[in-house]
Subunit: 358 residues, 2 copies
């Protein structure tokens, strides 16, 4: 087991990565301060892993809410199901929520914890690679609105993140690849050397080699933890973690949530950001090719949907949270392993990227 | 105009109390940092005062959401109306919400601000006495759930509280009295001298004498600000502000939200807390009488609904947020002007209060 800490003063918390952690009650129980806890999971994950969690918290009052699976259930109605369960079970301010599942479960459970009785504790038990390396760390929680993704939410840090790599054995191939998009992202924005390691070890990762996955997850969480510790509320550099996300969110919105996986949309978005960076003179053509090939090696898409025109992108991008006083800000690459957030970009270059006239 | 500060470090903010403040754009504009703002109001208040606010922010992009009036609209569906408006108007992270109305508008608008894009700024423009002296100060925001009042929400401090006493001229008598319950509360929990002042000046307050109201509001806000500054997240003494509220919430829930006004239920709840304190030997019978008479002078009810039995109270009180690990905590009076929060109370005395066998 590997352990690291997200350093946020009184809100600091550990991340444990390793095999068999869900069954280790000594890891979970110290982070539950009251007498009751409630697991939030979904219909796919609960049959696989809920028993392990229940056994770990057998000493406490415990019940669970099983949500329907899928991004399109990440909304206020589903959130209200959690509130109703908590109230029916008389959950109090000392109760703890356990988020057992992927990013959707973690985000919605985290926001339920942030807002139930004006905030209670929660623990992240991510079961997808995407959630392990990204959404479970850093305290961003929330739900979607019909008019925009992640538009409703709160910053609320978990008490602990327990990453049991065994849960990846049941993850569909396509979702494993989607998670690798965020892993590759850390290399692109701040770790050129990690990019090389990923290029060398991609086959092992896709074969779900335990050691390779543990290293990739641990390294990714280290990067995320460092960035979050420096900028918890995204006043500055935390925005760099959104490389590819502005384009990616537009793809997800335009294509309908869930048709493109988040990681797939981000992968394509990162290529678009790299292309934009190349047109700005910051990246070489062979570097953009290297990025495309690495993502393709991870079995990720690198070309936006043919039916999306530049106007479609602009419409969805204009409600993106990185719009500041009406000005669009983008995350671009100044070099391999070095990202920047800027509103001072070449509009013509952006249009060329969006209209696929490179 | 009188001004005081809620001292919360980087989250500190001013409270201005006086006549004609809504029309003074120099008070409002310095607290709006972006280029756009959105007023949330209700169908009763908007026709009376929205024009003044619109004129004050004429230099900015501005639109408004007018909610239906009433506590039973303080729910997730109404909250979602606000989100929809903000997204349709492309509100961004630099947008500011303005809460123009009573406690319901302030709480729901505050929670919309807390949760829209994981938190944006808001300003409180309270138009009821209750909101002026209580809910607009201190950052508690939220909505009700069918299974419990204020069960969903967040701590989110406003940028500023502008209290225009002119708006009290249109407040119904019954709501003025309800607000006075919270004013009297500050005297009961921490200011014996203020109780005497209120007793001496109750006629002026009911006659809406501007000077008397300004003093009562300013003094109340001072008390609230001191308590909130010492305990922003209600880890300790802030709970004292809930004197009468545990009993009061039970009355509101049992009778259906809105049939008893919050202040009316709190007034009766404070009498019940005083009765309980008397049975504990902390208050004299003549002191309980003094409290009853002062509340009656303010035209407030002092006896719980005849149809509520002890079991009804206990059922609703068991989901109260002041229940800690299943243990009910109550706020009682150790003396006039001195409150305490305790789980170590005489259960038999509680039962006598609830069953009206004093």
């Amino acid at each position: 087991m590997q352990t690291l800490t997200v350093d946020l003063g009184s809100r600091s918390y550990p991340i444990h990565v390793g095999s068999g952690l869900l069954a280790d009650k000594n890891l979970l129980l110290p982070h539950i301060h009251g007498q009751s806890c409630f697991t939030v999971s979904n219909a796919t994950i609960a049959p696989l892993y809920l028993d392990k969690v229940s056994a770990s918290v057998a000493a406490l009052r415990h019940s669970s809410v099983v949500l329907p699976d899928g991004e399109h259930h990440k909304n206020l109605d589903t959130l209200n199901q959690i509130y109703s369960h908590l109230l029916a079970q008389q959950a109090d301010r000392q109760s703890t929520l356990l988020a057992l599942g992927g990013g959707v479960v973690g985000d919605i459970c985290g926001f339920a914890a942030a807002s139930y009785q004006r905030s209670i504790d929660f623990v992240q038990l991510p079961t997808t690679l995407l959630a392990m390396v990204d959404s479970s760390v850093g305290g961003k929680t929330g739900v979607n609105h019909a008019l925009g993704k992640n538009m409703i939410g709160a910053f609320h840090q978990p008490q602990c993140v327990l990453i049991d790599t065994d849960t990846l054995h049941t993850l569909p191939d396509r979702e494993l690849s989607a998670g690798l998009a965020e892993v590759i992202k850390y290399g692109l924005i701040r770790d050129r050397e990690f990019l090389g390691w990923l290029d060398d070890n991609m086959d092992s990762l896709l074969a779900r080699d335990s050691e390779a996955l543990t290293y990739a997850i641990y390294r990714s969480c280290q990067h995320k933890a460092e960035v979050v510790a420096a900028d918890e509320f995204e006043a500055g550099q935390r925005a760099l973690l959104n490389l590819g996300h502005t384009f990616g969110h537009a793809i997800e919105s335009a294509m309908g949530y869930g048709n493109w996986l988040h990681g797939e949309a981000v992968a394509t978005g990162m290529v678009m950001a790299a292309e934009h960076s190349m047109l700005m003179g910051w990246l070489q053509a062979d570097e953009v090719d290297y990025i495309r090939q690495l993502l393709q090696k991870a079995k990720l898409p690198v070309v936006p949907p043919a039916e999306m025109r530049a106007e479609d992108f602009m419409r969805y991008m204009s409600v993106d949270k990185k719009v500041l006083n009406g000005t669009l800000r983008l995350i671009l690459l100044q070099a391999m392993g070095e990202a920047v957030v800027t509103a001072d970009f070449d509009q013509d270059a952006l249009h060329r990227v969006l209209s696929r006239s490179l």
